[in-house]
Symmetry: D2
Subunit: 463 residues, 4 copies
């Protein structure tokens, strides 16, 4: 039998199993796994390399206007960062403007992404304006493959929805199979704290964190869980950062409620202490929720082990420190922390930061695959097309060289951001090759595939 | 030595001790307790009777306009109901109107009460409109002896405060020694549920309960606890009804946070099932929070034993079923449960309903005294003047005859309500006599003291 | 390429993934999975059938003398029951006699099993006599592939070890990589209860359950967890039955302790109420721990979902009701429940009882595979040889026909027991074929392979 | 009216109330409290002094042989230490010898105490040998006023009872109204740890603590709670030291089980770190359970506030460091920590150590009285004779001078111990006077009453 490509001798890791095998690829899909007769096929030798399903990052913001700035990365640079980092699919966020139809917002984002992405992509829809009259638009979105909606309990006046709106949106997903993704922080309290801090002359970056306490996240998490429970639908928490918020998720799951949550590498590897770096450097880490005090990360690692956290995504939302190319940077907030654009790059470093945890014994390799690919695919309607290495799946494959090490640096990253939050950190493993639907996109430092190969993915509703 | 009055041979019960003693009274205060030489004094023989400190009900609504109606009881009938029921002090609620100064609201309530009360009284202040500019009025209130403020998380558009406002109010009590009393129900969700029910033609009284689920109370309780924690101040929950809300209180107290809560007899003795009584009878029990399903009350009793609930008050807020004397009644909501004035009478029955629990072995007599008098006095700045039977305290004394029984009925109660929620229920014990500051106000069925003896009490701030 | 056998068109289910594929088998192992060119190979068409890894039952008792009787099943009938039920590997228990060397006990069990088993088998070692001087024998056992040891906190005077002994054994596994498997019930208390019941003339089967309360299991579970924690080693609980015991396991796991537990189908599907069947029929269900009251099973199902229970085994320990072939039966206890041989058959029904839960929506098919095969293999040193369907694994494969139904009955089962606890129960699915190391052993009702093909498996120590 | 004595102008503190009053005493009892006409009576002016009920220490060991030594204090010196420290009642432990009738043990202790005590005293009975045949002796003890029994889960071969025995004893108290007091530490595990430590040459005092981990106490506590639950009776834990053990008590109480516990000042004020004092000094603190690591005490303080701990006793069990007067001292264990007699003095310092917590704001004065006098009296059948300052109670009164300070030192203490664990510590408050049944026993440093005034107290059974 002849295949388009056979990857030979790989150490294949799935969400449950580990074994040595060849991987045969045909028409962009995995045809067979095992001892493959590759005599008539093109082959790549993967001896000594780990083969995992391509990473799926369900939380990126490319080409997003926010807080008077625009993200450093658009779909070109953002997707390049993704693919070099071992991520082959992203789910980005289309954003409704106040008064705008959801369809309009989706069109806008299709335009931003179309023909510019190196990775396959899908969209969540950020809903900011949802009177009763507009709820049926959610159903249409689900039918178009945009089967999840992000709401905010923070940013009053900008993104924040009140409890009645949230409850209405949750209720609607009972019928249309959508999933609500929640940014859970109590924006009302935070705003009072921010105003008070500024009034007292507290303007440095660290006050961003000090005015967004863990309590504000835990409270909102508990509230959203209650609203979802009353509506009788599942709910998904984005970028969960606080151990206390995780406790709320855990309690709900123990009761049997369908509550899901992601955390991000920054909450596992960085901490509040980074805000106290000299000068304005803390601004690099200004994001919401903020980094938490040291010790908190241990609770998150435990949540990953206990499956109270099911996904690791990035909330990639990159801003340059300095203005450039007509885009203002984090410097906007030099004299007022509340004006620093919130967000940081992450899509490029997620996979290796987590793989490092495998080699350090924190996670099994199987759990790594589950957190970075299989679970996100299942939760967001991409499975079985994406998220695994079984026959029939898209041949999105990452080869990791476990014997090498990688040092993270803005000097060589592919994001357009002018800094990297992990600058200088060395992690175990290196991305050897990345395949998207059977095509080798990346080999070491080189882009070997078409940088615009990425296609839009219609996601299935919850089943 | 001669005293104004000596009550002989009583079985005295305090919040911690029980003993046989005479009680000597002088100038309205307790002068001595023990074996008293009463040869030169007026005496009353209390052999076989239990002497307890006069009941303190920290949650009544007399002469209150609400939902297009006015409570059946003003200070005359309400205070008469109180004193006949063994309660010698009430803390009622003055209500700010939107845009109104707090001082103005207090003046209004002083007018309603002055010269009309048979029991001593104090006020909480219900705050509905609290822009930053008005917060300093809270300090003035505390100085006038109104050292607690009620806020609502329910009734959007009427009483509801948003989280930012609540947080500001809590923060203010850090400085002025006030205490925030919270009505914790998520009003936003409830309103959506109510609209949905009405749209579906669900108009009967029971839908009042079905659109105010326990979750909505538990959520709001947890939220308010978080806000108080962030503000670093104590908080008090009024009329806690749901076991799940109690769990939140318990968890906070276990962490060491200063969280307090009252429940009411209706949540201990009545249940959701009462809403399913035939016809419109369920309207008698329409109050917020609503009665909860059978079984819930056991969790509240446990909370009383574990001291996670510190107070039993009544939320006395009486409306007649039928209109009369120019006042609309519960009939307002005959075709729409959401128009039924919320509330029910309770101040007259609280003491014996709880005492019944003593004779049935659910509570110790000491705990009964603590819940109905000592704890409320301590929490709300009335101690040591009120709340105990030690020398120096006001001689507010109730004599209970433990061998008699009392059957509750609207036919003989003193409230102006035209029904009693406990109609026909027989409880252990009977009120034998009630003394207010040394004067016997009530003897069995007869008012023996001045029905306007009650005076305003300035309460101390938190210490 | 030619293979020994290709199973075509199966719906393959692994612990994480589900996909349609052919399975190629060579030399008893899985060679490849996917689209296989089977032109030169023997093929079996599995269209419409589910292919799962062969079941692994880590808790069976074949040919065991106990309580004056001997189990109905020896390795011949027991392993036949296993293979017809879709189980291709069992881990049975060798039993040390008092004063006997562990090696001697192992030899005895090798003799019982050798050349008589239709399924592959391994052994745990039941240790009843472990003075300090004998602990080094545990190390030798681990080296012989018997890397787990069962201890009892029940059956004083027969199997029970005291806390000092348990702690010593646990400590020893820190060095030798063994795992302690615990029967957790407080035997001391149970014995007092049993004696009291008998003294009061309570002799019927149901008193077996009434004298072994959930508390006795929860207590022992908590105690063993504490001992393992102090020793710093993992621990595994066999046949966990009580929700309260599960709570202890859950709490330990939340703290991060390595605690594992299995439950059995009888605790998921049967209940205390079965003891109240007329006459002596309740004896069929006399086992330890006993069946628990209805409602308890829901807590176990939740434990399976939350991964606080990782394994479903059977504790297959069959006794006939009536004596026969020289073996006494459960009738031994007709006048004294404490003399009823403890145990019931189960190895034959486990897989379909659990599969039924898949078709009823209680479990995902992936979780089913994990619970019945992958997890037991990983926990007990059989992985990667057993427990999955990836290339390189033993070709132990079960084909389930999901469209058929199966009615359980002693009339057609292969165990030598004269009754079946699930008599008459109909479950979704039917075992279509069972393969052991590439050989089709079972096809429908027929044994198509060698009934003595089973081989001893040396298990690896914990890693 | 004339009284035997009137204490004028005291600040009286009860378990619930605080007020200024005179206390009139007649025939050793409190006759009246309040404004007392004392013209014809002997008076003592207590202006500026706090009057509290005499301390009740329900855990002392006077004249006890243990571990090859005998306590430094007999009833003469022990009771002198008590009365000088503000304690007017002790409950000591009579100890059954193996094979001895309980009555015999009681006689022995009556002899030790009779005519030698400055304080009133009662006995618990330590039961070490309780075959079924002897359980009825427990009933006889209760009738003699010895209504509580101490059992040990530690000290195998000496005091330890197995679970069957404990369960039998608990069951017996269901009928006779006795209460089981439990020393909860898993003796089996501890013994293995001790032997291992000694074998490794670890002989210093600190290994006493390192071989008795918190887990061993928490486990035993949980086990005893389960046994009591199965028996359906209350249980009381002596000298609870570990936060984890407290968690078990808390959980049981939350479920509604009647579980009670005391802690001791040493667990509140001292810590593991004291074992690391230079040389052999750590031996001063060798007691069981041992002192716990710093931080643990905060959990106990929280337990005192939450009423999960109801009593503070001392476990006064004094041994001299050096041998003397024919008594071996702690030096016995100089080369083997396991031979250090376990115990330390405490009865003299309890009241002021706890009062210090009042002045430092940790406890209210009312809670102090409850913990040191009212609760122990109620729990152990001494109420209403002891434990409060209400009319009718024994006039056991302590006057504390809150403006003075006291420095603790062996140089001035009245125990026969040659050291004090709190040497040099200064606490707020000083004992001004101590009255036992109306007689002033102590005035400052002077014994002003009869040092043998103490009488045996028959305690009532549980009601």
């Amino acid at each position: 039998m002849s295949y388009d490509l056979v990857i030979k001798n790989a150490e294949v890791v799935t969400a449950s199993d580990s074994f040595k095998a060849d991987i045969a690829i045909e028409k962009g899909k995995i045809a067979a796994v095992g001892k493959i007769d590759a005599r008539d096929s093109k082959t790549i030798d993967a001896k000594g390399l780990i083969a995992i399903p391509g990473g799926i990052d369900v939380h990126t913001h490319f080409d997003m206007p926010f807080m008077g700035a625009t993200t450093a990365d658009d779909f070109r640079t953002g997707s390049a960062a993704a693919i070099f980092g071992g991520t082959t699919t992203v789910v980005d966020f289309a954003i409704q403007k106040r008064g705008e139809a959801l369809k309009k917002a989706l069109d806008t984002w299709h335009e931003k992404a179309h023909g510019k992405s190196a990775v396959d992509y899908a969209f969540h829809m950020i809903v900011v304006d949802l009177p009763e009259s507009r709820t049926k638009e959610m159903d249409a979105m689900v039918k178009e493959g945009v089967s999840s909606f992000k709401l905010f309990m923070a940013y009053p006046g900008i993104f924040m929805s009140d409890d009645a709106t949230i409850y209405r949106a949750l209720t609607r997903t009972k019928e249309n199979g959508g999933m609500i993704c929640m940014h859970a922080e109590n924006g009302g309290v935070i705003d009072v704290m921010v105003q008070k801090a500024l009034a007292e002359g507290k303007i440095e970056p660290k006050y961003h964190a000090l005015t967004r306490p863990m309590s504000a996240e835990a409270e909102a998490t508990r509230r959203a869980i209650a609203l979802a429970d009353m509506a009788g639908v599942p709910i998904y928490f984005v970028h969960l950062s606080a151990g206390d918020a995780l406790d709320e998720v855990r309690r709900a799951r123990e009761r049997g409620q369908q509550v899901f949550a992601e955390t991000c590498p920054q909450y596992l590897y960085l901490s509040y202490e980074d805000y106290e770096r000299p000068g304005f450097e803390g601004a690099k880490f200004v994001m919401s929720p903020p980094l938490r005090p040291k010790g908190n990360e241990e609770r998150l690692w435990k949540g990953l082990l206990r499956n109270d956290l099911q996904v690791v995504s990035t909330d990639h939302c990159s801003f340059c420190m300095k203005a450039g190319e007509g885009k203002p940077g984090k410097e906007l907030g030099k004299k007022d922390f509340s004006k620093i654009p919130n967000g940081a790059p992450g899509v490029e470093t997620r996979m290796l930061l987590l793989w490092d945890a495998v080699q350090n014994g924190r996670l099994t390799a199987n759990r790594f695959v589950e957190l970075t690919s299989t679970s996100p695919a299942k939760l967001f309607g991409l499975y079985p097309r994406k998220g695994h290495l079984s026959p029939g799946a898209d041949a999105d494959i990452v080869l990791i060289d476990p014997k090498k090490k990688t040092t993270i640096s803005a000097k060589k990253h592919h994001s357009a951001a002018d800094y990297n939050p992990y600058e200088g950190k060395t992690v175990a493993g290196a991305i050897h090759s990345v395949f998207l639907r059977g095509e080798r996109m990346v080999q070491g430092d080189a882009m070997t595939g078409s940088a615009t190969r990425g296609a839009f993915l219609r996601r299935a509703p919850r089943s």
